[in-house]
Every structure is written in structure tokens, then in C-alpha cells.
Subunit: 110 residues, 2 copies
DNA sequence: TGTCGTTATACATTCATAAACATAACGCAT
DNA sequence: ATGCGTTATGTTTATGAATGTATAACGACA
């Protein structure tokens, strides 16, 4: 049986971290700019920006260091805190994924 | 850390079973009609009907026995196959949830 | 000092999805 | 025969989220 799952971290009953933010942060790390990260995912910059803002407010964690203006117009890099966070989230998701694969073959023998 | 988790069963890359259909089937079992089941969930009947139809087509499983007309206008009851299916799905979700709760406290010590 | 690509933000528009609505058929009970 | 509440299905309308557009500020550098 094939499956798909999503796991969100919640705060005050609001989604505060999930697959979208994860991808975004990894792309920022790779590309050095939030705009380029959003573009590379086919996501509008305004949405990407809102996501970052919301998470930072909600979790009280600074995720990216912004630089406005300058040689390449500016850019963003992810913070150590963000790196730690995505490492934890990825480890969690991997662990859960493993569990599902074990179980799904136990329950659905199809 | 609080979380929310959703698991879908897939067929041909399409969502074919998840939390929505599960609730719907349980409500049909409880209330004896797809219309009432949908209403009780604040879901439109047409959507509920489409969900049932799609799953039955996709999984090649008959989920509900329909009766049109008659004493109470008709109604629907869920099949044994559907009962088996929701039992498996619920067991799987419960097992995975347990795992997440263990892990999330291991990873996010917040 | 003007240019560049970025962050930041508000606002308008588009689009996909869901809900509403409409209609037909059904069969038991009165 | 008629009415009732259901299943079945297509069509229309509404809602909300995502996207697009616009504008300002910024600062290194040529």
C-alpha cells in the first residue's frame, strides 16, 4: 500500500513548521536569498516572506539573517538555530517514515 | 512540542483514503445515511458522495450499501470490507501517533 | 550619484476548491 | 396516489488561499 504523510509542528493550534518551511530554509541555505529560494520552489516571494515572518514570530526563533542592499542587492542566510531546527525536524520525519513503512505492511497486507 | 499528523493512503499518486473518508464512514455507520453523516461533519452531501464514489472506484472496494426510497427515504450502511479497512487505518494511525509522541519529546526537548 | 537585486509590505487579482442549488429516481407507508 | 427523505449527479455560485503587482528602502560598488 502506498502512502503519504505530513507532520506539522503546532503552536497555539496553528501550523508553525512543516514540509514547506523546511524546503524553504534548505533552499535559502543553498541559494543565499529568500527570493531565489521561493522562485526555485515555484512559490511567490510574498508567500515565502510571510511564512518566515510567521514562524519567527510564533516560535520566537530567528531563522534567517537578512541583508538589504549591497553588492548583490542583499540576501539571506539561515541561522544556526534554524539549522538545528531543521535537523531535528528531518530526524523526526525520517523516524516516523520508517515506522509507517514497517506498520503499513503489517496492517495492509495487500 | 505540539504536532499534527495526517496520513493518506495513495493509489496511482492520488489520495484515496485519509482522515476525511474515515470520519465519514464512521458517521455513516452511526447515523445510517450518507447525507446525515455529511451534515454532521459540516460537509456538503455532494462532496461526501464524490468522496465515496472516488474511493470505491479507486480501491475497487464497496464501502457502503445504499438503499434509495422506502420507509425513511432510504439510507446507507457500511460494508464489512469498509469496517475492516477503517480498523486497519485507525490501528496504523494510532501506532504512528504513539511513535511520534515518543520521538517528538526525544528530539524537541522544548 | 545611479544601478542592481534584495528585503519588506500592502493591496489587488486569479484560481482552485468547496459549498449550494437543482433535479430526477426510488420505494415504503399512509 | 401522495409524500418523505434518501441516493445520484450535474451545474452554478461562493469562499479562501495563492499569486501577482506595486512601491519603498537599502547599501556596496563602479
Amino acid at each position: 500500500m502506498d502512502y503519504r504523510f505530513r507532520l506539522w509542528l503546532m503552536k497555539d493550534n496553528k501550523k508553525v513548521f512543516g514540509e514547506g518551511p523546511l524546503m524553504l530554509l534548505k533552499k535559502v541555505e543553498e541559494l543565499g536569498s529568500l527570493r531565489q529560494a521561493a522562485m526555485s520552489m515555484g512559490m511567490s516571494y510574498s508567500k515565502a516572506w510571510k511564512i518566515m515572518k510567521q514562524i519567527e514570530e510564533e516560535l520566537q526563533i530567528q531563522l534567517i539573517n537578512r541583508k538589504i542592499g549591497g553588492v548583490a542587492g542583499g540576501g539571506s542566510t539561515i541561522t544556526r538555530e534554524a539549522k538545528d531546527f531543521i535537523n531535528k525536524y528531518e530526524a523526526l520525519v525520517a523516524s516516523v517514515n520508517k515506522k509507517i513503512e514497517e506498520d503499513i505492511n503489517r496492517f495492509f497486507v495487500i
